[in-house]
Point group: none
Chain length 225, copies 2
DNA sequence: CTCGGGCGTGAGGATTTCGTGAGGACCGGG
DNA sequence: CCCGGTCCTCACGAAATCCTCACGCCCGAG
């Protein structure tokens, strides 16, 4: 049972780490929004304890980005007590909202309640298409048996596409997931990285069969039938 | 979406009934512990809002009794703010715990968060007519099984029409949705794109059966039957 | 019958979007 | 300091899409 703590206050992090660690939870820490997303992708936690007041991305943006690809329970911890803040966070996809200060016992009970509800993470099967195999959890890609190196950015894009087989993923969603919501008009990035991914994964990169472009809209991963 | 309110305070019941009823929830009420269990069995609510301080059975007993046979989300509402009370309720099987007083907005947001967990977001149904199937969410259209390629503008128009089956959609609405409010007199665009859509989707494009024109008014999508 | 308005549709040209190569900025490790 | 790897900028030809324009049809009014 792994818990990601996303909080920039060292004292809070320390307290949470001790509280949760003592209960046998495996604790991972991130200190800003981007780090939280990176850690979430890298470690696939079973629950996220998220402080809203971090530098970088806003808490809301982190919630939305997470919800783009995972159903992991999100417990928001915040100093803001206004009901509007709670409504925003919950509607963005958070599962619970606790205001500081709070007791360790209460937090633990809420963590237990959330993990009880959580759908047991189905082990992600390896995605295969053509002579390529991609293990998202292990961050391992291979082609005709031999490993293929992908850069971090390539992984992020590929992951979003592979998690929505047959669905069109809009340029906006991809850009938001990978670079953040303020980059939604930099479509050139996508062209560049899709080109790279095809070069590494497609049988005939100039005639893509799996990673398709829909002009003016976005991209689509089409698995073999 | 049916919600069971278990509370013995008539004023609170009244407030909750109004708040929830106005949002379209179907509200059922019980005023003591036994009544709550009876109502739960009788009406099978999709969510329970439970006051801990009811006469008869204690709140904890109600939670445990419910958990004996149902996974319905339980949102506890209580005047008791001690963390011990929260821990007890949550560990007994409650999913959330809100202390009085609370704002209606917050309660509603928590209700939404809980029901979201209970029933994973329902996928939009696929719209079918003739030998055509359209999945708006996935941006996937097919005809007799093989995919049909639509341009972004075609998608936007089709989406508006398909979301209002059997209803007349005025040219003004269509133009505003797709090109913006300043294009409401460029009706030529609609003729052009409707023609394209029919060519791609209608069995006999020159005798439309699903995407009908209402001269001088607008267009109408008529599903089978 | 004639006429005119609204509609459908084909044919390009205008515009936007894509794919891709080349190369510079940045960074952490030897 | 150099170096490999990664990310990003820039540029340009190709492709897809959008829009303009022209023409013909249908149908009701006069």
């Amino acid at each position: 049972m792994r818990i990601l703590i996303a909080d920039d206050d060292p004292q809070m992090v320390r307290a949470l780490r001790i509280t949760l660690g003592a209960r046998g939870y495996d604790v991972v820490v991130a200190e800003d929004g981007r780090g939280a997303l990176d850690q979430a992708i890298a470690t696939h936690p079973d629950l996220v304890v998220l402080d809203l007041g971090m530098p970088g991305l806003t808490g809301l943006e982190v919630i939305e980005a997470l919800r783009g690809w995972t159903d992991v329970p999100i417990l928001v911890v915040s100093g803001r007590t206004e009901s509007w803040d709670k409504v925003e966070a919950l509607d963005a996809g958070a599962d619970d909202y606790v205001t500081k200060p709070f007791s360790a016992d209460e937090l633990l009970a809420r963590v237990r309640a959330l993990s009880r509800r959580a759908t047991p993470a189905p082990d992600e099967p390896v995605v295969e298409f053509g002579d390529v195999a991609v293990d998202l959890a292990a961050r391992l890609a291979s082609r005709a048996g031999s490993p293929v190196r992908l850069t971090p950015t390539e992984w992020r894009i590929l992951e979003v596409l592979l998690r929505h087989p047959d669905r069109l993923v809009t340029r906006e969603i991809l850009l938001t997931e990978v670079w953040g919501p303020q980059y939604t008009s930099d479509t050139g990035y996508l062209r560049l990285y899709l080109s790279q991914l095809r070069k590494k994964l497609e049988p005939d990169p100039s005639n893509p069969r799996y990673l398709l472009t829909e002009a003016g809209m976005g991209y689509r991963f089409v698995p073999d039938r």
